[in-house]
Subunit: 334 residues, 2 copies
């Protein structure tokens, strides 16, 4: 079982994932070379269902049995989980500055498509909509579990973005704690709301839609922008136009529209940046803080074309070498 550790030096939790731990010696040769990823060995390809833990949710053809082929989107527990549902959220003091906790939570893989070679830019739009409907489904299910405080949905696309398996998949981790970064964003937004009586994100979106300088694309209910002070080159954010603090509150129709917006955006990024590796992250309020007046969920997409180096790790200040307005124009035209 893995372990969550907390240090009073910075008030942050870290996952020490001993379940996926290699021995320290194994790192000698582990310089980021992804393992061979042939279809014969791929645990996510149809016919290989027995190579994964049993599915927890599935969209599959009528009449096909669980854990056999015939699925369209399949959700399974991660075989090398960062967190597992055993244990509880009880803190164990190590001394007066350190605490530890069971590596308690959930870690699921959403296999997006039976076809090893598809991805969110090449799938039929109906398939992308199904992927997003499963995001919504699992997000709601894990958020409803009172043992988990925050649910993080993310996708690592390509070795530069931290994945070693090329079969299209996303992941979702439910944690028994609220990350400091999220709490900071919530505190900032709540302070703004207390002062101005408004959601700072709704206000920001109004300004962005006025100036249009950083606007990438818009649909009826979503707006895609480059952030004014983005950490990474071409870091892009998708916001719902209506006020909502939790991703799980999205309706099935809105979720279908979101799938279309995301596919459009990913195709633009692919064209503009020559098929970059990228991460997608859904940023939502904590699981049991629903309908907040002051917070606004969003999705971030970070193409991995720049690298955090010593300055960024040492200061937390990022150097972005592409002006967000130029990036927005470039993506609009792509």
């Amino acid at each position: 079982m893995s372990e969550l550790r907390y240090s009073s030096l910075n008030k942050e939790w870290v996952i020490i994932a001993t379940d996926r731990a290699k021995r320290p010696e194994d790192f000698k040769y582990g310089k980021g070379v992804p393992p061979a990823d042939s279809r014969e060995k791929c645990p996510f390809c149809p016919g290989h269902e027995s190579k994964t833990p049993p599915e927890v949710f599935c969209l599959r053809e009528k009449g096909t049995a669980p854990n056999t082929s015939g699925w369209r989107v399949r959700v399974i527990p991660n075989q090398f989980p960062a967190l597992t549902p055993e244990g509880n959220h009880k803190r164990h003091p190590i001394n007066d500055i350190y605490m530890s906790m069971d590596g308690f939570g959930a870690h699921e893989v959403i296999v997006e498509n039976p076809d090893h070679d598809q991805n969110l830019t090449t799938m039929d739009i109906r398939q992308v909509e199904e992927v997003f409907s499963v995001y919504r489904e699992r997000y709601i299910a894990l958020s409803a579990d009172r043992r988990y405080e925050s649910v993080i949905l993310f996708k690592n696309n390509g070795p530069g973005a931290g994945t070693s398996l090329s079969h299209p998949h996303s992941q979702i981790i439910a944690m028994p704690v609220t990350p400091l970064m999220l709490r900071h964003r919530l505190d900032v937004a709540r302070e703004y709301f207390d002062n101005y009586g408004d959601c700072i994100y709704c206000h920001m979106l109004e300004k962005e839609r006025e100036t249009k300088d950083r606007l990438v694309l818009e649909s009826d209910n979503f707006v895609v922008i480059e952030l004014f002070a983005s950490f990474f080159a071409f870091e892009t954010a998708v916001y719902p136009k209506w006020h909502a603090s939790n991703f799980g509150a999205i309706t099935p129709e809105q979720c279908r529209e979101l799938a279309g917006v995301m596919q459009k955006l990913l195709i633009k990024l692919k064209r503009a940046l020559d098929n970059p590796d990228y991460n997608i992250m859904v940023a939502s309020a904590p699981a049991h803080e629903q309908d907040l007046e002051y917070y606004h969920w969003f999705i971030k997409i970070v193409p991995r074309i720049s690298k955090a180096a010593g300055f960024e790790l040492g200061s937390g200040v990022f150097i972005n070498t592409v002006v967000p307005e130029a990036a927005a124009k470039y993506l609009r035209d792509a």
Copy 2:
């Protein structure tokens, strides 16, 4: 000139480095391939002094002229600076949630050795001591400049750590702002001091030296440990045993001792992890907050053997796949 941008959404500053900016199109092929780095073209090799801006500080042989060969350690302004000394720290409101500021500051390169093929693990210890004496020198000089609020000294070693030039060098950036990450650490340490009347780092070091579980090595005045809740596998920290909040307060003798400790540690990491790419960062109190009772400077070394993926970017919570106690034992034995 580059630009500093601030967003009220997260209260963080970002450097938009238009001086090093490529056009967005250039990123199409910029997938992290380092440029060719032959000695003939290396701007840091002796005889090529005219390829860099004029030196701002130098340890050189008697009788040799500035900006010619004959130097041992050479400090020059970065040719592609993130920040430059033109401008001022005046904030320009863009609207009620965004601000910008001149990309105002200093960005220097410390060329550590005339020999293209040396590094901190292969240099003679006298040479490493000279490098650290120059760290001290430039740190004190830039910290004394009232226009700069924080000074970040760092080293990117290898392409995986964000450098494209292999000639051994470090960098130092002076900023007109205090990074949020540093202010958070200061706030946490000050709260502890207010409550317990003690430096939380001194207290932590006392505990670590008692249990020895995460101890890597010790000298008379320094202690090297794996952090209890470290973000990255084999992330290692060097602390002075005496209480001091600012790196610049180090004496020349202590600085020589530190050079020896750092070389020992880097040799251990090289052996243990098969010559990994790594970053070094000096974390010190803000330039004009000297002699703080509650803060403690330190140096962090992060071997780049793990990668921040979507979960880390989306939550700020890191997954570390090597137990710090196991990493410490492995380094002690290396």
